[in-house]
Subunit: 158 residues, 2 copies
DNA sequence: TCTTTTTCCCATCGGATAGGTAGGAATTAA
DNA sequence: TTAATTCCTACCTATCCGATGGGAAAAAGA
C-alpha cells in the first residue's frame, strides 16, 4: 500500500502538472520547464486540502529527489524540473516509500542480499521478481502526465 | 514489501508443498489431500530455521484463512487442505498482509471509499487499478506449486 | 491413567515507523 | 522594513511489526 506521503505527493504533483501543461500550451513552448511559475504550498493546499506542514516535508523530499525545483521568498514555490512525460510514477514512489519490489532481494534500487536463501534456486525470489516486473511495467511506463488525464473529459479535479 | 510473516509463511508452505507433492507421487493418488501426514511446527523450523513461536501464529492464521488443516496431539501438525495448484499466492498474502492493491479505493477484497476524491475521474485511482491488475495477473496465476519448482533442477532448498 | 507431544489461545512487550506538529532561520519581492 | 515564502531541526503520539511467555486443550502411546 502507498503511504499517505506518496498519496499526497501525487495530489500535489497533479496540480503542478496541470499548471505546467497549461502554461506550455498557451505559451507554445514545448521544450524545457520554465522557472517562472512556481506554485506555493498554500496554493496547493487550497486545491487539495491537507496538512500544510506535512505537505512541506513531502515537497522537500521531491525536491531532494530531483523531481521539483523551488524558489524561496515572496512569490516563491515549487515547479517541475522536467516535462511531466519524463517523470515516471516509479520515481515518485521510490522517493517517498522506498522499494517497489515485494522483497529486498529482488529490488533493483534498494537491493539487499537474502541471507538465509540461495537466490539462484529460491522459488519465492523468482516469483517475486515476476511481481516486481509486472509492477514496473506500469510504473516506469506511466508518468506524471497520466495523473492529469481524465478518461471521459470530465471536469472535476481529483 | 511483504512482511516477515508472509515470507515465513511461504517458507513453511514450501516445505508442506514438497511433502504433499512427494506423497501424491509415491501413492499415485492425484485427488484430494490426505489427512494422515501432518507436519509439526518443530519439523518445519528444522528445515527453515525461524522463531518457533512466531511461526505458530502464522500457521494459525493460515489455518483460519482456509489454507491449512491441523491435527492436535502427538504426531499432529499442519497439512494442506487443497492441492498446491489450487491455492494462489494472492490468497496467502491477503491472509497475512491484507490488501494487495496499492490503495484502499482500488482494492477488491479490502475496498474502502476514498473520501476526498471522485473515483470516476481520479487519475491516481485509475493508474493504481492498473498496478493492482498487473500484480494480480501474477499472484492469482501463480500457486503454491510454483514455490517448490526450481528452474534448473537444482537440488538445494530455499 | 499418566506422560508426552502437539495445537491452540491470550496477553504482553520493545522497537520501529507513520503521520503529523512546532518553532524558527534564511531568502526574496514589493 | 515587511510580508511571504522555503528550509531545517527537533519532537510527538499512536499504531504496528516482530517476537515471546504461559499456559489450556487435545490426542497418542505406555
Amino acid at each position: 500500500m502507498l503511504s499517505k506521503k506518496a498519496q499526497y505527493a501525487f495530489r500535489a504533483l497533479s496540480t503542478l502538472v496541470r499548471r505546467d501543461l497549461a502554461r506550455r500550451n498557451e505559451q507554445n513552448a514545448p521544450e524545457s520547464s520554465a522557472f517562472d511559475a512556481p506554485t506555493s504550498i498554500s496554493n496547493m493546499v487550497q486545491i487539495h486540502p491537507m496538512s500544510t506542514k506535512f505537505l512541506e516535508t513531502i515537497l522537500l523530499d521531491l525536491k531532494r529527489g530531483g523531481i521539483l525545483g523551488s524558489k524561496k521568498g515572496k512569490g516563491g514555490g515549487y515547479y517541475l524540473l522536467k516535462h511531466p512525460d519524463d517523470t515516471p510514477l516509479a520515481q515518485v514512489i521510490r522517493i517517498l516509500d522506498g522499494p517497489i519490489a515485494p522483497l529486498p532481494c529482488v529490488s533493483l534500487h534498494f537491493y539487499e542480499r537474502c541471507h538465509d536463501c540461495n537466490e539462484a534456486v529460491c522459488g519465492l525470489n523468482r516469483l517475486m521478481a515476476e511481481v516486481r516486473d509486472a509492477n514496473l511495467a506500469v510504473l516506469e511506463q506511466r508518468t506524471l502526465s497520466d495523473l492529469a488525464v481524465h478518461p471521459e473529459g470530465a471536469a472535476a479535479s481529483a
